[in-house]
């Protein structure tokens, strides 16, 4: 059966294969299952940990547990991207989320405030994640998080 692919789709697939290959050290077309989250997110998906867990159950290679095959991953990932599943919320929504924490409308959040919300609510950040986030988010002068600036940093396409 011949399946005609749009160039858009084949381009997508190349991107997926590229990202996958970075984690496939020896060219065996498999990667450690723990890397899948990074691969999917690096391809633009805004996944929750819960979403990820569901996907991993489906993807895990039955013959070698703990690993995922490119053959299984590629069609699933292509579909996600084509369907725009896990498409990130707009930067505006992201900004609103920060504003939600800033009840006093100060325009900034203190380190304690942000740490409190992100390590105790939702899919809590580990201490490492929190520290790493703060290391980039905190304005060195004020010691606070100017979240408006930080949002543009997070959503910027050119890291």
């Amino acid at each position: 059966m011949i399946k005609v692919q749009s160039s858009f789709e084949s381009d997508l697939q190349k991107k997926i294969v590229n990202a996958f290959e970075i984690f496939d050290q020896d060219g065996t077309r498999t990667v450690d299952i723990r890397e899948i989250g990074t691969i999917m997110r690096s391809l633009g998906c805004c996944l929750s940990e819960a979403d990820l867990q569901d996907i991993l159950v489906e993807l895990e290679d039955e013959d070698s547990p703990g690993y995922v095959n490119l053959e299984t991953f590629l069609p699933m990932m292509t579909k996600f991207l084509l369907d725009q599943r896990f498409h990130p919320a707009s930067s505006n929504k992201l900004l609103q989320a920060f504003q939600m924490f800033d009840a006093d409308k100060k325009g900034y959040l203190t380190q304690a405030e942000l740490t409190h919300f992100l390590t105790q609510d939702g899919e809590c950040f580990t201490q490492d994640e929190m520290e790493e986030m703060l290391s980039a988010a905190v304005d060195p002068q004020s010691g606070h998080i100017n979240y408006k600036e930080y949002v543009s940093h997070l959503v910027s396409e050119n890291l």
Partner: protein, 657 residues
């Protein structure tokens, strides 16, 4: 802090809250989730970039090892076929591949010779010597003295170096092939991985974890030398520790405790530079010390500590019975007069444990990336541990971003103790402490330079990327002519552009590295914004081979030699047995001929001679090849002021003696 917080913070008081606050809780959680998802996406994008650059460093590293192994197997072929050729050149190759005699009388003779030629008393200590003085028996205080002197960049006198090395030989000779370490008295033991001449890292370990002592045993798991600029100091310090605490300091041999590897990766050059006319003696004894280093250590009959790993053939009985001293080099089986002098299988056993890497895939395969040793899967690990009733393997040999990594269901721990190994900011280092009767794993991570440790993750990343791209671009430049030829074949319309897919294929094929070329493309080449095609000439713009050489010589010959300059250097160092740095015109052309045979490319005799003449500046018929290699560098076209060569950062740039 904020007043909203108090209402939201305690979900257990939910029952009394009104609908509005309920939805506020939900809204907070939703907001948190949104930010967390976005952040994790952002983090993943950074991570993939980090991995991408990591691949560059790693690929270049392993390609180099593969090259060196290929060169040695070429030498072996050469020796088996032309064993009768007695030119000085083939002598030095034969010498590097030699094994030790097996007959007792000859062994004793060799011992006497070694002592006669390298007796420390041959080298008097000048009254002007400013470095540290040591005396036997060595004590802990003297180790501290050495540390303090090395910190101040003082050099230990060649007389003392030989003294330490000879003492170390005596102690190492009494050790079994597989060391046995026990924690019964000390209750813990510390294991350090590759140090690679990074004195700061060793000193950081000693600072954090104290010097070795009767209640503070250490295992140093090989690769003490090469790459770092203070390999001499690291090696001497470890030897000194061994002398003071012979039963509490265990040294395992690594794949870099091998002069055939040192010849390419810097230790030989460092010794020559630091000890000039005494270098040959020091090299001679060090080589002997290497071949007396034990090959592995077993802790409490539970943990197998070895530099590389295991294979499906690893047989501890065979390893513990063999004559490890036979193996001067491990790159090729030892030979005398074109014949192997040791059991091929014994050699294979040692290659297996010193060169192998664990892999997630089951089975045992040839290590195609390094060109030596095997890849071993979790099943191989499991079978090995079962066979010898051991619990885990601790190994080193591979640089890891955090300095350590668990694999094979935590049965294999990689530990790597050289921070910033590839470049500033690339990796943390770690050592591991096994504590208590159950040998509980405690990993300590560190970075010994403060330069980048506090930098924000993205800045650090930027720094690392610059170094990686610089290395990569130089490597690409080395294949300039070959690439251009391919590009032109592809670009039939001579538009100067080709599509990115073909560009990736050509890069992979010609440069010979498995890299995420598509992702790297925008970083190293200019793209046509409309079509997305690659302007292929743009990847060469930053560099050229030094003008002086380029003006007078055939470009394709220059490029071939430049591309193989590490191999060429290895060949040069063979010829230069007296360490003078001078080789004759004849030897130079011989070396190039040999290289062309190895590379299976033709080089014209005349062109080689022209090149030789163009670099023999004083016209005395000898070539200073250190100078030659120095001239053989790429020039950064962007910054003429840096032409003095500091951007390429030779081995000793940072070394202020």
């Amino acid at each position: 802090m904020g007043c909203a917080g108090s209402a939201i913070r305690y979900p257990n008081s939910r029952a009394v809250q009104k609908f509005e606050t309920m939805s506020a809780i939900e809204r907070t959680i939703k907001a948190a989730l949104l930010i967390q998802r976005w952040y994790r996406r952002y983090r993943a994008r950074l991570e993939i970039r980090r991995r991408c650059y990591w691949t560059i460093f790693q690929s270049i590293e392993y390609a180099g090892e593969q090259d060196q192994i290929r060169l040695y197997s070429f030498f072996t072929d050469l020796m088996t076929h032309i064993a009768c050729d007695k030119s000085s050149f083939s002598n030095s190759i034969a010498n590097s591949l030699r094994g030790r005699p097996r007959i007792l009388a000859e062994i004793e003779e060799e011992e006497r010779e070694l002592w006669k030629e390298t007796n420390p008393n041959l080298i008097p200590i000048e009254s002007t010597y400013q470095g540290p003085h040591i005396h036997l028996p060595l004590t802990a205080d003297q180790v501290t003295l050495l540390i303090n002197s090395f910190r101040k960049r003082k050099l230990l006198h060649a007389h003392y170096v030989l003294t330490l090395l000879h003492e170390a030989r005596k102690i190492l000779q009494s050790k079994p092939n597989i060391n046995v370490a026990s924690t019964t008295l000390s209750r813990h033991i510390t294991i350090c991985g590759d140090l690679h001449g990074k004195l700061d890292d060793l000193l950081t370990i000693f600072y954090k974890n104290s010097l070795p002592a009767s209640d503070n045993p250490y295992i140093f798991n090989g690769d003490f030398v090469d790459r770092g600029v203070q390999s001499v100091e690291v090696f001497l310090l470890l030897i000194a520790c061994l002398l003071v605490w012979p039963d509490r300091v265990f040294l395992n041999r690594g794949n870099h405790e091998d002069f055939s590897v040192n010849i390419r990766y810097g230790f030989i050059k460092e010794i020559m530079y630091k000890y000039t006319r005494h270098a040959t003696r020091i090299i001679q004894v060090t080589e002997d010390v290497y071949s007396w280093l034990p090959l592995a250590t077993i802790i409490d009959n539970k943990v197998f500590v070895v530099h590389g790993g295991v294979t499906d053939r690893t047989d501890l009985k065979k390893i513990s019975r063999m004559d490890r001293h036979q193996l001067i080099t491990i790159l090729q089986p030892p030979m005398i007069d074109g014949k192997m002098t040791c059991d091929q299988e014994e050699w294979d056993q040692v290659v297996g444990i010193l060169w192998s890497d664990p892999r997630p895939q089951p089975g045992c395969h040839t290590n195609s990336i390094r060109g030596g040793g095997s890849f071993f899967g979790p099943d191989v690990t499991e079978a090995f541990l079962q066979r010898y009733q051991l619990e885990r393997i601790i190994r080193s040999h591979e640089c890891k971003p955090d300095g350590f990594e668990f694999t094979h269901g935590d049965r294999v721990l990689t530990i790597f103790s050289a921070s910033n190994y590839y470049a500033e900011g690339t990796n943390k280092a770690a050592y591991v402490k096994l504590v208590g009767t159950n040998l509980v794993t405690q990993i300590v991570m560190y970075v010994s330079s403060s330069h980048t440790s506090n930098a924000e993750i993205q800045q650090r990343q930027g720094y690392v990327e610059q170094s990686a791209l610089r290395e990569l671009k130089q490597l690409i430049y080395a294949s300039h002519l070959l690439l251009i030829e391919k590009f032109h074949m592809e670009d039939t319309e001579q538009s100067g552009k080709i599509c990115i897919g073909r560009w990736c294929d050509i890069m992979k094929e010609v440069v010979g590295l498995q890299l995420p070329w598509r992702l790297l493309c925008p970083k190293i080449a200019k793209l046509d914004p409309l079509s997305g095609n690659v302007y292929y000439e743009s990847i060469f713009q930053e560099y050229t081979i030094q003008n002086k050489l380029a003006e007078q010589n055939e470009p394709s010959l220059l490029e071939t030699l430049y591309r193989s300059k590490d191999t060429l250097e290895t060949i040069f160092r063979f010829i230069d047995t007296d360490g003078s740095g001078l080789i004759s015109m004849q030897e130079f052309t011989d070396a190039c001929q040999l290289l062309s045979k190895h590379l299976k490319t033709s080089m014209h005799q005349e062109e080689i001679q022209d090149l030789a003449k163009s670099i023999d500046i004083n016209k005395d018929g000898f070539i200073d090849f250190n100078e030659f290699l120095e001239a053989f560098r790429l020039v950064d076209n962007d910054s003429p002021s840096r032409r003095s060569g500091n951007h390429v950062c030779g081995l000793f740039c940072q070394d202020e003696r």
